[in-house]
């Protein structure tokens, strides 16, 4: 089995790994880099639990090959908090009880941060359509929407 050598940057840190050409970026993050924050809910791009930022774009990491990460900048949920200080989205998800089991939460956080970077004041509908690729089976989305709007408001004030 021939392995591919890849150098990339994850949450600002330089990383290097060898991976099988069949391994996805999600496999690599979890199995080789011990970053298990991104979850595999489907492996087919349908649930969003594996969402990460890949060279500035929101992607399903189960649909990216590990070998494609050469030279890439990758951001995962593990890089969202600033040391001890949670990102406002993380804080608001907790405050609004916008998670029950929490398996979708890393993907939702990454997707929501990407949304707020594009649109700092999204309305309910915009959030719903943006998150349409992030399945949550527990919450019915209501509290997630509220948490994102609340975080957006706080971030606008701080900005």
């Amino acid at each position: 089995m021939s392995m591919v050598h890849v150098s990339a940057r994850v949450n600002g840190d330089a990383v290097e790994f060898l991976c099988d050409s069949r391994e996805t970026l999600l496999d690599v993050l979890r199995d080789r880099l011990a970053l298990t924050g991104a979850k595999e809910g489907c492996g087919t791009g349908d649930c969003g639990a594996c969402s990460v930022i890949f060279n500035g774009r929101l992607v399903a990491s189960c649909l990216v090959l590990g070998a494609e990460a050469e030279g890439a900048e990758i951001e995962t949920v593990e890089g969202m908090a600033d040391g001890e200080k949670l990102h406002p989205l993380q804080q608001k998800i907790i405050e609004h009880a916008a998670l029950q089991c929490g398996i979708c939460t890393p993907g939702i956080l990454i997707a929501a941060r990407a949304l707020l970077a594009k649109n700092p004041d999204p309305n309910e509908k915009e959030i719903r359509y943006w998150l349409a690729g992030n399945l949550c089976r527990c919450t019915g989305y209501d509290k997630i929407i509220r948490a994102i709007q609340d975080a957006a408001a706080e971030m606008r004030e701080e900005a």
Partner: protein, 764 residues
């Protein structure tokens, strides 16, 4: 709750535990959950997040046939593949099992026959996932394909393929097909006499499809077992003691040989109450002597975990012109896959539980088909019953020109009502939910064209079960609670709130841990909406036990009787003037000296609480139908449910909203689709479409609090009832929007269009 536990279901308990007086200090507040930071930072470890040195990866070979005799399995080529460390088949598991243990073994690894598409045939452990998967292709299986049946009604027909001869239990009526394995009948009164009193009797036929719990986290585990026969298992489960018990039986070892640790759990909804892959991973670990990780793919989750039953139902209800229901009768046929125990008695028992009926009768049939063994799904059996019954009630209201909430209020079960399934209700809150729904602005908001409003009630028993909790006090007066019920939806927060309430200490001073099977007495699965009720009651009782000990220490120190000491605001106080004049002793002061005053202080509870109060809900939904496409849009949704006492209201609301969302999916989109070949056609989230954010509106909630007499604070379980009303509520809304009634779920656009066309033809 899991039916296959064979446990008694009761609703009319007379356990009197409610003893709360005065205001709550912590209970009813909304603090951040203790595990919140772990869950937003990626630190929380779920089933697939565990790794071990030297770990192997496993994969399972599954039957592509719905029904086939296994003539031969040749694993030699797979075993010869570089990197493959072991292959297991049925021969690697215990023999001589009986009853449900045998059923579970047969389900997780086929014996003589493959019984459904996806049935496990063999499993491989190898040094990488890819090698394990490649090895599956080298296993040669010779099948003799047998005729199959996947539909519940067809499986009951004469001439239908027999899934298993001799599986029927006593009590099944004479002359039924051997696929009918169990029968239930209950009720009271004389239904024919009741129907004779009615001004209008409506009888209808309904069907619902099998749906999946749809938890986002696939089943995953990491197993180890050394040559000493001692094993460790890490897995995502709703009940690790049950996993321990089942793995031990299926592997033929003692329960204590396997220590099971529950990971964080990424959703369960009943689907993680049993075992699927865990015994397989253990068998591979035993054979290789190395840690084995086994994770299901999403496709495997759909094909080979435990979806819910599909149902075929007939319901007949009689009503007087003034809305009084005179009699009700229902027949409920459920298929539970290739094994017994479809929850048909729950369907039958829940069907008319909302109503005070003089004459009522319900029958249930448990039918086997070539599908995966059903598992519990949120209030198992109840949502389909509510769909049928509440649709007929709605139709009666329409035909008699009556308001659907008034009619339900007129017939609602109350304290003292003899339930349709037997017991007499203690204090219950159905009437309160109906009154709150009627008073809600949603109920009288104006509707536009093609829009309709639907109402439905729903019922679930709730459950107690074996429960063990330990509350240990630290030297600094903080508390550490070990519970045995995995935290699926914020239960650590509820436990901490109840402990803080009892001990009079800050919420932040309580740490709640989910203990492993070696650290605590047996704990029943987190199911039956039992966690906040039963583990909550156990936490309260353990805290009271600890408090008694704290009081004894203070009494000792003061040289007075423990009866003369009372606990208030986190401190021991002399009770009244006669007790003596002492400065209060805080929990911190008492704990700081615990070593010298008698040793460590901990409180315990080990028992089986029996007073889980039944729970009722009323839902209101507005739907809009697009006559061009047949698409239904949910515009507005309100859940009103009795929580007894909401310990952490945000998480109670979350349960209400989540149940409603799942119910909407069941009503509109979700279904297991089997092809002619008996294979599941849609084993993925693309084709099995659960509601996404853009499918739903905000979901309004009203928490009604009618204390449960069986819990010290009045708590009732809330997790399951919320999925019971939505199927009918949405169907009723569609009916009111378009003047057509769908009695088959899901109400997918094509079905609605067909019904619209049929209606137009009928009118034209």
């Amino acid at each position: 709750m899991a039916l296959d536990e064979g446990k008694d279901v009761k609703g009319g308990h007379d356990a009197r535990e409610y003893d709360h007086e005065g205001e709550f200090r912590h209970v009813g507040t909304r603090p951040d959950r203790p595990d919140g930071v772990d869950k937003v930072t990626g630190r929380a470890r779920f089933g697939a997040d565990a790794y071990a040195p030297g770990m192997l990866h496993a994969a399972i070979l599954r039957s592509p046939h719905a029904h086939a005799r296994i003539l031969k399995i040749d694993t030699s080529r797979a075993e010869a593949l570089e990197g493959v460390k072991a292959v297991v088949t049925r021969a690697d598991f215990a023999s001589g099992l009986e009853g449900e243990d045998w059923n579970i073994l047969e389900n997780i690894m086929a014996g003589e026959k493959a019984l459904y598409d996806g049935h496990a045939i063999a499993a491989v452990a190898a040094t990488s996932k890819f090698i394990a998967r490649d090895a599956l292709e080298l296993i040669e299986v010779e099948y003799e394909i047998l005729p199959h049946v996947t539909d519940v009604d067809e499986a009951m027909q004469p001439g239908a393929p027999v899934i298993r001869e001799g599986a029927a239990e006593p009590g099944v009526p004479e002359g039924m097909h051997p696929n009918v394995v169990r029968y239930h009948e209950s009720g009271h009164g004389d239904v024919e006499a009741g129907f004779a009193e009615a001004d209008l009797v409506i009888e209808r036929h309904f069907t619902t499809e099998a749906t999946h719990q749809g938890y986002i986290e696939p089943h995953a585990c990491l197993a180890q077992m050394g040559p000493d026969g001692r094993g460790e298992l890490w897995c995502t489960t709703q009940g690790h003691w049950n996993v321990q018990k089942l793995c031990a039986k299926l592997l033929g070892v003692e329960a204590s040989a396997i220590r099971v640790t529950a990971s964080e759990i990424g959703g369960g909804f009943g689907g993680k109450t049993t075992v699927f892959i865990e015994p397989v991973a253990m068998a591979l670990a035993r054979k290789t002597g190395r840690p084995v990780k086994l994770v299901m793919s999403r496709e495997e989750v759909f094909r080979a975990s435990g979806p819910t039953s599909s149902a075929s139902m007939d319901v007949r209800i009689g009503m007087k012109k003034d809305g009084t229901m005179t009699a009700a009768e229902g027949t409920f046929r459920l298929q539970g896959g290739a094994f017994p125990y479809a929850p048909m008695e729950f369907t039958a028992m829940c069907a008319f539980a909302c109503y005070d009926l003089k004459h009522v009768r319900q029958r249930g049939f448990d039918v086997m088909t070539n599908r995966p063994k059903q598992a519990a799904y949120r209030a198992p059996g109840s949502p389909m019953a509510a769909f049928a019954v509440e649709s007929v009630v709605d139709e009666l209201c329409q035909k008699l020109g009556l308001d659907p909430i008034e009619v339900r209020l007129k017939n609602a079960a109350r304290e003292g009502t003899r339930a349709s399934y037997g017991p007499t209700y203690p204090r219950i809150g159905l009437v309160e939910t109906l009154e709150a729904a009627r008073a809600h602005p949603h109920y009288c908001a104006p509707l536009g064209p093609n829009q309709g409003r639907g109402v439905s009630c729903g019922f679930w028993f709730n459950f107690g079960g074996e429960t063990s909790v330990t509350l240990a006090l630290s030297m600094d007066g903080t508390a550490q609670i070990a519970v045995g019920t995995p935290d699926i939806g914020g239960s650590r927060a509820s436990m901490a709130l109840m402990a803080a309430e009892e001990l009079g200490i800050p919420y932040e001073d309580v740490r709640v841990t989910i203990a492993d099977t070696a650290s605590l007495g047996y704990n029943e699965i987190s199911h039956g909406s039992r966690v906040t009720y039963a583990s909550g009651l156990a936490v309260i009782k353990a805290a009271r036990d600890a408090k008694r000990k704290l009081i004894a220490r203070a009494a000792d120190k003061w040289g007075i009787d423990p009866e003369a000491v009372e606990w208030r605001d986190g401190a021991a106080h002399p009770a009244g003037e006669n007790a003596g004049d002492f400065e209060p002793l805080s929990i911190k002061e008492i704990c700081a000296e615990m070593g010298a005053t008698g040793g460590p202080i901990a409180g315990h509870y080990e028992a089986t609480p029996e007073g889980a109060g039944v729970s009722f809900a009323t839902h209101i939904v507005d739907a809009e139908l697009d006559p061009e496409t047949g698409k239904t849009t949910i515009l507005r949704y309100t859940v009103v449910q009795d929580a007894g006492k909401a310990v952490h209201p945000s998480y109670v609301e979350g349960q209400f909203q989540g149940g409603a969302a799942q119910g909407i999916g069941w009503a509109l989109n979700e279904e297991y689709i089997y092809g002619e070949d008996g294979r599941l056609q849609n084993p993925g989230f693309l084709d099995y479409r659960i509601p996404v954010a853009s499918d739903l509106p905000m979901i309004d909630t009203v928490i009604v609090e009618v204390p449960n007499p069986g819990h010290p604070y009045g708590v009732r379980g809330v997790g399951e009832t919320s999925i019971c009303p939505p199927l009918a509520a949405v169907a009723n809304a569609v009916s009111n929007a378009a003047g057509l009634r769908l009695r088959q779920l899901p109400m997918r656009p094509a079905r609605i269009l067909e019904a619209l066309e049929a209606k137009a033809d009928g009118e034209g």
